[in-house]
Structures are given as C-alpha cells and as structure tokens.
Symmetry: C2
Subunit: 210 residues, 2 copies
DNA sequence: AGTTTGAGTGAACGTGTGTTCACTCAGAGT
DNA sequence: ACTCTGAGTGAACACACGTTCACTCAAACT
C-alpha cells in the first residue's frame, strides 16, 4: 500500500504527511476504549497498512506519538475556547452561549477529547504531564479572560485563578460525560446548565462579599 | 514460594485468601502509573511468586480481577463517606471537617483511589461501567444525606441531585489532584476549601431563590 | 487409616511484541 | 542524465503473551 496507487502527482512531503496523519488517526482509533499504554507499534502499523519498521520514520516511540496527539488535541480545544469567547461577550448569557458550542466541539472532535480524558489519567508519564501542563495554561488564559469581563474586578487575583480552575475542572467533567454517553447529550447539557448556574450564583455573590 | 515456609498452622482457606490478597496487591502495584488494560496475567503471577496458571484458581481473567478491585476500592470510599458524615452534622463546618478526612483517606488508601481515577477513564469496559455505577450510587446516597440536613428542604429533589452530583464530581477531581501530587497536599486543600465555599455560597443562595 | 479435593507446578502451543539490519526504488537536487 | 536521499520493505532476533494439559502433594473429609 502507500503509493501502490497509480494516482499521479504526489510530492515526497505530501506522501510523508499523509502517512503521518494515517498513523495519528490509527492511534486515536485503536486507543478508543483502551489506552496508549495498551497499544502496540505493530497494531498501529497494521492498521495504517505499513510495515512495523516504517513507523520509526515518523515517531521514535509510541510515547512520542502520544505527545503529538496531545498537541493536536489541544489545538482542537483552543479552537473551542476561541469560539466560546467570541460569541459570549456578556457574563450573563455566558453559560447558555457556551454549552452548545462545547457540545458541538465534543461531537466534532470526539476522538481528541476522549484521548485527553483517557490519557490524562492513564497515559504514559510524559503524556500525562504534557496534558496537565496544557490544562494549566488554559486555566490561566481563562482567568485573564474573566478578568477582562466588566464587574469581575471585585475578585482578587488568587480567587480569580481558583474560579477559573473550578470552571475548567467542571468543563472537563462535562466533556467526559458527553463522550461516555453521547445519546444523553440534551439531558447532560440541561443538568450542566443548572449546575453551572449554581456555581455562578456562588461566584457572583462571592465577589460582592469581598 | 507460597507455602515453602516451614511455618506451622495455616489452613487451606487462609492460604488461598493470602494468595488472593497478594494477587490484588500486586495488581494495584503494577497498574500504578499504567492501567489494567496494559498489564498481563504473567506479570501479576511473577510479582506474586506463583506460576501463571495458578492465577486462574482465583480469577478467570484480568478483567474479573479488576471488578474485585473496584469492589474493595469502593469499600474504602464508603468508609470515607461514613466518617465524613459522622463528624460533620452541621452544614456550616461541613467543608472544614470533611477536607482533612478526605486527605487522610486518600493518603491511607492511595492505591485504591488511584485505581478508581485511572480505570474510570481507561479501564476495560466492564470495569469502567462498574465504577460509573458505584459513583452513581454514592451520589444518590449523598443527595439523601443532604436532604436530612436542616434548611435543605428548600431544594427540589431534582436540584438536590444536581448539587450532590456537583459535589461528587468536585471531590473526585480533588482526589485525583491529591494523588498526582501528594507533596502539594496542604496547598491543594487550601485551594479546594475556597472553591468549595464558592460552590456552597451558590447553593445557599440558590435555595433562597427557589 | 484411606480417600478426595484443589492450590500450585511445569512443559508446551501458537501468536504478538520491540528493535536490528540490509534492501528497494521513486522523487529531489545537481 | 546521474547521483543522493529517505519512506517503506521483509527477514530475523530473543522474548512475553494467554491458555491447555497432565501432574503433585498436603490439607480436609470420611
């Protein structure tokens, strides 16, 4: 395979990139319902349709494959955050505006979110560390975003960070639920909406108490 | 090994139970930083000091070993909940009373909590399902416990369940953090304390709005 | 004392594993 | 046109895997 086609015109770089993508996709597919630590280089190679040794032309271990998947998964996630932030400039309709966007993203990039959820807890040490780091960065970004919202200046920096952390944790949990039972999406969203409101009521009353 | 000792007096049942425990402990040990889906029956047997085939006298697969570990891990967790509930009859000091208990339990039963955290996301399908089910039961128990707290009767049943769910999710997240960085225990506890207060301020204001 | 039971043994099976090596042969650079 | 580069090949390695089977031999039961 991989070039056996009589198809014309494929540059060397294009060909390599195509195989690399195929490896990433195969890994996402194979780890679904399992984990990076449980799949083998040979399974991936077989799925892609290349010989095991060819794998090494692209990654030098399953772990480094995992790190590449972390990168592209968080590219997805940052796309989500950008979109959420664009369409909800108001603190008031923040929740109603954001939840459907989250649901859409999880549905569209299911494999990526499932990968993060799984490997965050059970991946190779380096991969877990990379994921933890990325989540930390995103939490900080969220904190500075919230700081720009009018009315949020009553929060101390410390409490702002804790609020952002609380929200991120909760979004991670919600994403996990959407992944594990996609059929219950509307119920999960309705429940999450109420819970986020409970949380926000706390945040709003908190700042007035400061 | 396993009976090679010149030690006297060990009944057949005791011997079997001792080996069974050794298998469970070995599995907890081997899955640490990895996952049930990534360990082999032979690794476990070697760790215990028995021949691979002897494993089948106790469990008929690694998956059923996993289900046994789910059972005993949640026995630990229920012990925690009982203790938390005993020493915090007041809604007010609920948080300050519970957090140190949680931290103690996580420290004392680290392997169990780490097991739940990992396999919840990445274990074999049956194991994930069992964990999800146990968490659901605990959430329901918490909801009925909260319902007995004076002043909580302003919550509708539905919102009571959502609050319980919110708390359980957050406790799971906190336990995960304590596991992944035990050295930061006091910082994590202080932060979690503030976040739980934010959440509780929301809950308290919520019920008065109903 | 004699028999039954069952936890643990050890050899064997077919298959999958990561990694090495020398190789092909088409696209890229001269 | 001629060489170089490097993605993909295929054989081979030493080892680990789950499962089967007939076995031992001490505790438990009669």
């Amino acid at each position: 395979m991989a070039g056996a086609q009589g198809e014309v015109a494929e540059t060397r770089g294009e060909r390599k990139e195509r195989t690399r993508r195929a490896i990433l996709d195969a890994a996402l597919d194979l780890t679904d319902g399992s984990s990076l630590v449980a799949i083998s280089l040979r399974q991936v190679a077989k799925e892609v349709g290349i010989v095991p040794t060819a794998f090494y032309r692209h990654f030098d271990s399953v772990e480094s494959l995992g790190l590449a998947l972390v990168d592209e998964s968080f590219d997805s996630l940052r796309g989500l955050l950008r979109e959420v932030w664009l369409r909800s400039p108001q603190f008031g309709d923040y929740i109603d505006g954001s939840l459907p966007v989250l649901a859409d993203h999880v549905r569209a990039h299911r494999a990526h979110y499932a990968f993060i959820a799984r490997e965050r807890a059970a991946g190779p040490a380096r991969v877990r560390e990379a994921i933890r780091h990325e989540i930390e960065l995103i939490t900080r970004e969220l904190a500075t975003d919230i700081a720009r919202v009018p009315g949020s200046n009553a929060f101390s920096t410390e409490h702002l960070n804790l609020l952002a952390d609380l929200i991120v944790s909760f979004v991670v949990t919600t994403a996990e639920r959407l992944i594990e039972d996609p059929g219950a999406e509307s119920r999960i969203l309705a429940e999450t909406r109420t819970q986020l409101r409970m949380l926000m009521v706390g945040a709003l009353n908190w700042q007035t108490r400061r």
